[in-house]
Each structure stands twice: as C-alpha cells, then as structure tokens.
Amino acid sequence: MKAEIRRVVALLPLMLLSMALLSLLVQGSGVLAYRSFQSPQSPTNPPPTVSPSPTATAIPPTETPTPTPTGTPEPMETPQPPTPTETPAPTETPLPSPIPTFEAAPPAAVASPIPPAEESPSQPPPSRSWAGYIKIGLVALAYTWRTLGVLAFVAFLGLVMFLAIGRWRR
C-alpha cells in the first residue's frame, strides 16, 4: 500500500501541472460559456430582399428556398458576407449566439397562461384502438428488424476491416 501511495505521489507534479495549466487556460477567456452544440453557423441562404406579402406566401414545405451560390465564395457553414441588399444578412452579428437556453431548456411546452377564446381546441389524445396497437407493433417490429440488420451489417464490416488489416499486418 505504501508503495502504491508513493507511486501516486510521484505523479503529483503532473497533476499539479495539469491544474495550473488549466487555470491559466480558462482564466478570463470566457470559454466556459462556450457550448459546442449551440451551432454558431449562420444561415446559408441569402436573405430576402423584400419581405413577402403574407397573402401571397403560403408555401408548401418543399418550396423552402434553397441556397443559391452568390458571387462571393464562402464555405457553406460560414455566415454569409454582408451584401448590399435591402435587407442585409443576419450574419453580421458575431457568433456563436449566446443563448443560455441549454441548461434551462424546458423539457416540454409551458402551458399557455391565457387560453384564447377563439383558439381551436387542442386535439384530444388519440384513442388507441386494436388497429392502432397492431400498427405500433408492426412499426416496432420493422424498426427492430432494420436495427438488427444494420447491426449485423456494421458488425460484418467491422469484422472484415479487422481481419483484412490484421492480415496485412502479418
């Protein structure tokens, strides 16, 4: 036991070095607030030049505008450069966005405090019939089947890779 403790103590300088280095790294840099998944990418689409009239803009989802490459080259995930359009790109705002919603992200919708009178009533939970249960069962079966198939495929590829590279090694 004493020998073990001695060996751990021998690593103490490295532990202290890690702590000291980390303290130096985080000191005043503000990186503790960084969130990797708060995607800092800006939209890739060019901003609309004119706000569309609401009466003429009912669109099917497939008509959602897709990016059109502009004359100014840029990587897809980087924000658009400011363009001299009527409505400038939203990407002039420094990114990433400092939205602190991650830690406090609500798990579900907060109930509306003022139920509007004219609002269409929310849908009642669908009643489960036998047909519904059978459908759920079939979907579950299909997913299970697909999952097993993919697992087998991944395992197979992994094994092939493992064996092939192992053979090269020898």
């Binding site: 800092p40 939209p43 706000s51 609401p54 840029e74 450069p81 939203p90 966005s97």
Partner: protein, 492 residues
C-alpha cells in the same frame, strides 16, 4: 484464447457504441442545419454534381451520399440520422485497429472504450450532418498513410489518396490533416526514407482534388471577407476543444473533469512510451540526440502532431478570417482519444489504483453527460412547435426567418408566413414600424415564432412593435423556441 477474447471484446464495444447511438436517435428535433442537409440532398445527384466545382459549397460529397441514402430510407429523422450513426459506429473498430497497429493493444482498448462512450462523438453520430463521416474518413486517411509509408505499396498509396481526396469533399477543412501528415513524414524521414519518391508523388497528386476548392478558398482567405465568427486565441481554441471533446454537453462546467482529461493527455504526451520504442541513446552531437529522442517518443510525437497541427493550422487561418468552431476539428478526435488511452496506459504502469480511479471518473463523467444529452431537449424543438401550431390560423412571423425551413419540415402543410425586417444592420424603430405595417396589413392575428432571434433582431424591436400595436394573447415556450400570439384588433 486471446485470439478470441479481443475480437469479442471489440464486438462488444461496437455493439455498445451502436446501442448508445441508436438510443433516442430521433429524440432531438432536427435543427435548421440538418433540415438544410435534407433539402440539399433532395436536389438529387444531378442537382448536386455541379456543387463539386461551385465556389462556396462545403461538403457536396456528403450531400450526394445522403441523397442516395434518403431515396432508400426517406426523409424521416430516424432514417436520415442513421446515416451519421453508421459512420460513427464504424469509427469504433477503426480506432481499435489504428491503436493496435500503431500503438499497443491496451491503448487501443482504452481509446475504443472512450470513443464508444464519447458524448461528443455520440452527439455527432446523432446529427444529420457530415461530421461523423468526416471523423471516420480522416482516421482512415491517417491509417492508410502510415501503412503506405511503412510498406510503400502502390495500392496503399492509392487508397490513401482516395480517402484523403474524398474527405476534402465531405468537409473543406479535412484538408488540415495534410499538413500534419506531411510534417510527420518530414520529422520521421529516416524511418520512412524508402518511401520518399512515392510520398512526393502522393503529395503532388493530392493537390489535384484540392484545386477546385483552392480556386475559391484562397481568394476568400486573402479577401477581407467577414465570417461573423468570433476570433479565438490559440489557448482558447485548445481549451474549447478540451471542454467539447471531453465533456460536450455536460450539465456542469466544473474544472475538475477537464483537469482529469488534461492530466491524461499530458501523461500520454510526456509519460507514455510504447514497448520497445526507440533504441539506446547514443552520443554524437545535438542532431543525433534529437533523433534518439524522436525515436523514443515516436508514438507520442505522432499523436501530438495529429492533435495540434490541424488545430494550429485552423488558428492560422482564423488570424485572417475567424472560422473556429469545435466540430470543424472533429477529425482530430481520434488523436485526442488515443492520447488519453496512452495516458491511461502510462498511469497504469505506475499505479493501478490511480488508473482505476481515473477510468472510473472518466466513465462517470461520460455516462452522466450521455444521460443528460440524450434525455434533454437541446436543439430547437420545431417538432413540438409544428404540432402546437397545427390548425391554428393567422400569420406566422419567423424571427429569425431561416428557422422557417425547420418549421415547414415538421408542419407539412400550407401556412401563411412573413419575414420581419432585419434590424441588426441599424434599422431604426420607425423603419421597423413601416416594415411591420406592411407585412401585417389586414391581419387580425399574428404569431411571432422566435428562435435564435438575436441574430436578426438583437434589440427586440420587432417584438416591441407588436407589443405596442397589438395585445399579447398567448405565450408558449419550447426548447429554444418561443411563440407569442398577438391580436392586432381587426387589422390596422
């Protein structure tokens, strides 16, 4: 017995990685980048092929592959994300093989375990973007490069060129691995001197797939193009990566788990030495001494270069054009986890008790983080928003407008929408009022959907106008989306 035990252990880890990545694969709503990916992929091969030579297009190969994939599985969340899951799972046996081939079995096992349970890699295995494929392809490129250097066979060089060339069309920043690979060769030249000609030829050929990208990347880099990204210093980039790769979405941001990760990384760099690596230290001047040191710490050198050269290259680019985001460097995560694996082995050689403690702490951190990130709504929850908005009438104003695609993906029907004026460019209240008057003319009911709104209207002028000209009758909040309903009193 060993011949069976290790493959079985690997299979177990691969299955574990698969199961964890599969769990709640479609729990998070698709966020706008993922919806974008689907919309791009839906352009089909013919629509996407020109993207390979179009300036500004990042990752056309990924969208092309995804377009084939979605013709088979459809555009559902589960199916689309499964494509990323596939590559994320395949990374597990690959990192084992790399660890086994170039380091040692214990390092390989530790790294495989850590990759299987890495919250960061799991996050991107569950995201319909190119990052899990990028990490796989990059590691494959490095592995093939080392094999080619060692054996100097034409088919290995060809495979390396293919993997590297393709990875550049998965993500433009995959090219950052090439400086690492080149530098590694130059430093370890005596070891691979037999492959000099092939190496030179390979580096030359590698320029070819990069040419279409270089045609627009280099002028962009030299221009005064503003990316909108924040500038990070080198220590900041390193710290962000420590947190991201080590913790990802951990519910706590304490320093202790990161200190543990840093400790293991340092142990990997400073204390780890592969069995039988290096020879006797000979005296013979500074160069000979340097060569001996390099030979003795060849593995640590390889991993350190793999980790730091792309990072440093990205920093250099950022000096001219800030571009840093942690996931752009996902290609160096294998080096990160292999170094931690080396650190664990180095610690284990000195104290088994400390190894057990470190490993247990790492697992606790990883599992608690995983539990958190797979059971908490993190991404903008447009699935719930669309469900809530179904059959409700009125004009929908999207703040910011780009989230409309995510809403449309889930809503799957017609809806009336309008884009609010962009105010971050300095538009004043009067201008906002005029624009808002125009878009809400004749409307009695307006829904304001706010998600990432500060990118469009950081001063909140749009909402302010609605507050002044209407009355708030409803307010609902979902993860990263707020909905406000205003009555405008029969038009105005």
């Amino acid at each position: 017995m060993e011949k069976i035990r290790f493959p079985l252990l690997l299979l177990l880890l691969v299955s574990l990685a698969f199961a964890i990545r599969l769990y709640h694969l479609d729990f998070q709503s698709l966020w706008r980048d993922e919806v974008d990916a689907i919309l791009f992929a839906e352009k089909g091969p013919l629509g996407l092929l020109p993207w390979f030579i179009t300036p500004g297009q990042n990752g056309p190969l990924y969208y092309l592959l995804l377009s084939f994939w979605i013709t088979i599985v459809g555009r559902g969340e589960f199916g689309v994300r499964f494509f990323s899951l596939f590559w994320g799972v395949l990374l597990v046996p690959l990192i084992y093989q790399v660890g086994l081939r170039w380091l040692e079995r214990r390092v390989a096992l530790f790294a495989t375990l850590l990759v299987s349970l890495s919250p960061y890699l799991i996050w991107y295995s569950q995201e319909a973007k190119m990052y899990s494929l990028l990490s796989f392809l990059s590691l494959l490129s490095v592995h093939l490069y080392l094999l080619a250097l060692e054996r100097n066979r034409w088919y290995l060089w060809l495979a390396y060129l293919l993997a590297t060339g393709l990875s550049m069309y998965i993500h433009i920043l995959a090219v950052l691995l090439v400086p690492f690979e080149a530098l590694f060769y130059l430093i370890s030249w005596p070891r691979y001197r037999g492959a000099s000609k092939a190496w030179l030829m390979a580096m030359g050929i590698l320029v070819l797939p990069y040419l279409p990208l270089a045609r627009w990347e280099i002028p962009t880099l030299l221009s005064s193009f503003a990316t909108g990204h924040k500038f990070y210093t080198l220590p900041e980039i390193f710290t962000v990566l420590l947190f991201s790769f080590g913790l990802n979405s951990a519910p706590y941001r304490g320093l202790f788990p990161v200190a543990l990760v840093l400790f293991l990384l340092l142990a990997g760099v400073l204390l780890y030495r592969k069995e039988g690596e290096g020879g006797e230290v000979s005296l013979g001047g500074f160069l000979a001494l340097l060569r001996n040191i390099l030979a003795k710490h060849h593995s640590a050198l390889f991993l350190s270069l793999y980790l730091f050269v792309p990072l440093f290259a990205l920093y250099l680019i950022s000096l001219g054009m800030p571009i840093f985001t942690d996931r752009y460097l996902i290609s160096i995560t294998p080096a990160f986890f292999l170094l931690i694996g080396c650190g664990l082995v180095a610690i284990g050689k000195r104290s088994r008790l400390l190894l057990a403690i470190c490993l247990a702490l790492l697992l606790v951190v990883n599992l608690s983080t995983l539990w958190f990130q797979t059971d908490t709504k993190v991404k903008s929850d447009f699935r719930s928003v669309a469900e809530y908005m179904r059959d409700r009438e009125g004009l929908i104003v999207f703040l910011m407008p780009y989230v409309r695609q995510s809403f449309a993906y889930y809503y799957q029907g017609d809806f009336m929408w309008a884009d609010p004026p962009y105010t971050n460019g300095g538009l004043d209240e009067e201008g906002v009022g005029e624009e808002m008057e125009k878009i809400t003319a004749g409307q009695e009911m307006v829904w304001l959907l706010v998600s990432e709104g500060e990118l469009w209207d950081s001063r909140g002028l749009v909402r302010e106008w609605l507050e002044e000209n209407g009355s708030l009758v409803d307010e609902v909040e979902f993860a990263r989306v707020e909905i406000y309903r205003y009555s405008l009193g029969g038009g105005h």
